[in-house]
């Protein structure tokens, strides 16, 4: 396979440049394996991967133009191009800086409550399976940023739409019966209705069990029930 990697050291290079080389295809190979083979056999590539099993989110790159978690992506015997994940500043080669994205997500994920629980007030909340199942599946979001990198609505409304990763965090706490925040307002405020419901996030996300568009519909239904649908929607 011809493997093409976009390299770039901002402290040294005037601009990014391509390096190519041959990597032998193996049956049932992952895109990460091919990149590691390239690194070992052709030229060093700086990528910061960790878990190799879609849990840490660090190996997200653009693979042939598609945002991808390469550690769990099967490849075929053909040519591949690796570029850094779109939408984030490039630190070096395929390593991008997601600190700002991550901090903002984290702020949303923190539960909103009047006061902490104690032994008396912690109730064995009986989760309705309609709540429990999507909530549990959303736990597996590894915050890789692949969804944001491929979202057309984010590209069209960068000032208004937070993107699927942030909207998922909002949906998560909306579902959490122990959360006391106004997550529906938060969703609308963060561009819920700028999302065009195209399903690209569902298509790109490699946690197959997370149902993004269903979550956006749930939030929309709640917004309508509250009467806070924006005038442009």
């Amino acid at each position: 396979m011809k493997i093409d990697v976009l390299k770039y050291d901002p402290a040294v290079d005037a601009k990014p440049y391509h390096v190519t080389g041959e990597v032998a295809f193996r049956e049932k190979m992952t895109a990460l394996e091919a990149l590691v083979e390239f690194n070992n056999g052709v030229e060093a590539v700086n990528l910061d991967y960790s878990c190799a099993c879609r849990l840490c989110g660090r190996c997200a790159v653009m693979l042939n133009g598609t945002p991808t978690l390469i550690c769990v992506t099967p490849i075929e015997d053909k040519d591949y191009t690796y570029e850094p994940l779109k939408g984030f500043p490039v630190v070096r080669d395929l390593i991008v800086d997601k600190a700002s994205f991550d901090d903002k997500l984290s702020g949303i994920f923190n539960r909103v409550r009047i006061e902490p629980f104690n032994e008396q007030t912690v109730v064995p909340a009986s989760y309705d399976p309609a709540v429990r199942d999507p909530l549990y599946h959303m736990e597996f979001c590894c915050r890789c940023g692949v969804c944001n990198a491929g979202c057309p609505a984010m590209a069209s409304f960068p000032d208004e739409y937070i993107g699927p990763a942030g909207m998922l965090a909002i949906a998560y706490r909306h579902l959490d019966p122990l959360d006391q925040g106004d997550r529906v307002m938060e969703a609308v405020n963060n561009g819920l209705y700028r999302c065009i419901m195209c399903g690209k996030c569902d298509e790109l996300c490699q946690q197959q069990d997370i149902a993004h568009v269903e979550a956006w519909q749930m939030l929309r239904d709640a917004a309508v029930a509250r009467g806070i649908k924006p005038s442009y929607a």
Binding site: A11, E33, A44, Y49, C56, D97, S106, N110, F140, R143
Partner: protein, 592 residues
């Protein structure tokens, strides 16, 4: 192109200048020099930043090295006590180590003693202290207040095991990290690899290392430091993109081996924990987010290479983790019934699988693997490993002011506490550090020479040129394959002896020839790997020597040549010290 006037050469004089004026909170960041040419996009010749990276000095009340479950528990505790806390995370915050994985960590939060701790391997004094201190023994309450939804439920929606000490399943670590990093009194410096401790006159004044995105040398000054950097399992073998572990490349024992080189005694390095994870396709090997388990609850699905069950159907001992691992060792190695990669065969069939693995069935189908209808190779993977500095009853190491939240003796022969004890000991470590600060004296004059030496050591690794140089990943794989031979669920003197011979060869031949492809300090993965390789070799060799010396079977592995436990000769901890470059071991009795 403009170059700045200021000298960009790191010098001891610069350091001492700051120390004598008593600068606190001073940050000196050097200038970027050099200019890039090559308008056609090609890499220009010889224009790396002028004369190397800069240094920064960062000051805090309490330094916590690590950002996982254990570290965040310590941070929470210290913040509650009103301390300004600085966390240093080697990886990107919330994505580092095993706590940086969005996995359903079904390890328990427990109030019981670490498994099998009837024997003296546990430091019972520190155990009792930590349990006595624990401000919230009801872990359900603790976890829910730290953001957990506990979405794993009974079919009727009720929480299983409500308000009991144990929780099983549905713990997602990022909730904890989200909570801890939200506090105003907590500052995080991430993507910063600590490579050495700042020890001055036997006292720990902080730590130092590399800010990976820039290559800058960072020195963190603090009157108290807590180490919570996890166990190193990345030494254990190598497939294609992963070692035989659910662990991560973040955990390479950097801080523990730095303590070792500075004179600390390291204990419990022979101990590890294992379970069984699928290893096919090779790129998905040992991934909890991509494979299936052969754990105690899946014992009926575990077969040898010829299709015979590994565990008898009525074998109730499978729930004893020690027995589970030792029996694996016996079957795979001693009885030679293991697969080529030293594993077993999982035949899941229609059996009920916990959700966190069942969700991987569809992922594996993308690779043409259907675990419901075909068998799949699985291997014992190392998910925990001991080997940490010895501590006293307050988790303080032999360096005043340095606390270790998983120090030697905290979990003893269990080889690391995983989730269960990280939260307990992390909380206690935070508390002990805070208490220490109440009476801590001023450090007086600071000897900066170790910092200068460490800076120079790191730059030498980055800029070294050698005829016939070896790249770090090659050296690393040599370490990992030797450690795989020595540190599995089955060990004997022959295997460990061969591994030690190889470790000695790597140290003498490979390490001095290890070079990196690029000397640019900007997020230089090979430079990082090269630095880590020294630590990986130290802990791999130390663990093997300790295990070789311990002529008995204790902990989660079977010593084939000494299959019985020997309380007469080995009812003790083995502590390793660096004596002029030689690893020496002594037997130590722990507090009862």
């Amino acid at each position: 192109m403009n170059s700045t006037e200021r000298s960009s050469t790191f010098s001891r004089r610069d350091f001492l200048k700051f120390a004598t004026v008593g600068a606190v909170g001073a940050t000196v960041v050097g200038s970027l020099g050099g200019c890039s040419t090559g308008g056609d996009g090609t890499t220009p010749d010889a224009v790396t930043p002028v004369e190397g990276p800069k240094y920064e000095v960062i000051n805090t009340d309490l330094l916590i090295i690590g950002a996982g479950n254990n570290a965040m528990s310590a941070a929470s505790q210290a913040a509650v006590a009103g301390k300004q806390v600085t966390i240093v995370d080697k990886g990107p915050l919330r994505h580092s180590g095993t706590s940086g994985l969005s996995w359903d960590a079904f390890s328990t939060i427990a109030n019981g003693a670490p498994e099998g701790q009837d024997a003296v391997q546990l430091n019972h004094e520190v155990w009792r202290n930590a349990v006595a201190y624990d401000p919230q023994p009801l872990k359900t309450v603790y976890m829910i207040n730290h953001g957990q939804s506990l979405a794993d439920r009974n079919p009727d929606g009720t929480l299983a095991g409500y308000l009991v000490p144990f929780l099983s399943q549905a713990l997602f670590f990022r909730r904890e990290t989200d909570e801890a990093s939200e506090r105003q009194s907590t500052t995080v410096y991430d993507r910063t690899m600590i490579t050495d401790l700042l020890i001055s006159n036997g006292r720990c004044l902080g730590a130092m290392g590399v800010h990976l995105p820039t290559g800058n040398f960072r020195i963190f000054r603090a009157p108290a430091t807590v180490v919570a950097t996890g166990g190193c399992t990345w030494i254990y073998g190598w497939f294609t993109v992963s070692a035989y572990t659910i662990g991560t490349p973040d955990n390479t024992a950097d801080v523990d081996m730095a303590a070792f080189r500075r004179g600390a005694g390291i204990g419990d390095s022979e101990y590890a924990q294992y379970d069984v994870l699928s290893a096919y396709p090779a790129g998905l090997a040992c991934g909890f987010g991509s494979g299936v388990c052969g754990d105690s609850q899946e014992a009926a699905a575990i077969f040898d290479k010829d299709g015979e069950l590994v565990f008898e159907p009525d074998d109730a001992n499978v729930w004893d983790r020690t027995y589970f691992a030792q029996h694996m060792g016996k079957v795979i190695v001693e009885e030679e019934r293991g697969t080529e990669n030293g594993g077993v065969v999982l035949n899941v069939g229609d059996a009920a699988i916990r959700y966190s693995n069942a969700r991987n069935i569809d992922l594996l189908k993308l690779f043409g693997v259907d675990v419901r209808t075909q068998s799949i190779e699985a291997v014992p993977e190392m998910y925990e490993h001991g080997g940490a500095p010895v501590i006293d009853g307050n988790l303080m190491t032999e360096f005043e002011g340095l606390f270790h939240a998983r120090g030697a003796g905290t979990t003893g022969q269990v080889g690391g506490g995983q989730v269960a004890f990280n939260q307990l000991y992390g909380t206690y470590a935070g508390h002990c550090a805070v208490e220490y600060l109440k009476n801590a004296s001023d450090p007086g004059e600071i000897d900066w020479t170790p910092a200068v030496a460490e800076y120079e050591r790191l730059q030498e690794i980055r800029t070294r040129t050698v005829e016939g140089g070896i790249r770090p990943h090659v050296v690393r794989k040599n370490i990992q394959m030797a450690a795989y031979k020595a540190l599995g669920v089955y060990r004997n003197a022959t295997l460990m002896g061969e591994a030690i011979t190889e470790f000695e060869r790597i140290r003498a031949e490979d390490l001095p020839k290890m070079v990196v492809s690029s000397d640019s300090p900007t997020y230089n993965i090979e430079w990082k790997q090269a630095i880590e390789n020294y630590n990986m070799l130290d802990i791999a060799e130390m663990s093997t020597r300790a295990s070789l010396m311990r002529e008995e079977t204790r902990g989660m592995y079977l010593r084939g040549d000494f299959p019985e436990k020997d309380d007469v000769n080995w009812n003790c901890m083995l502590v390793c010290r660096d004596k002029g470059g030689v690893m020496e071991f002594e037997k130590v009795q722990l507090p009862a």
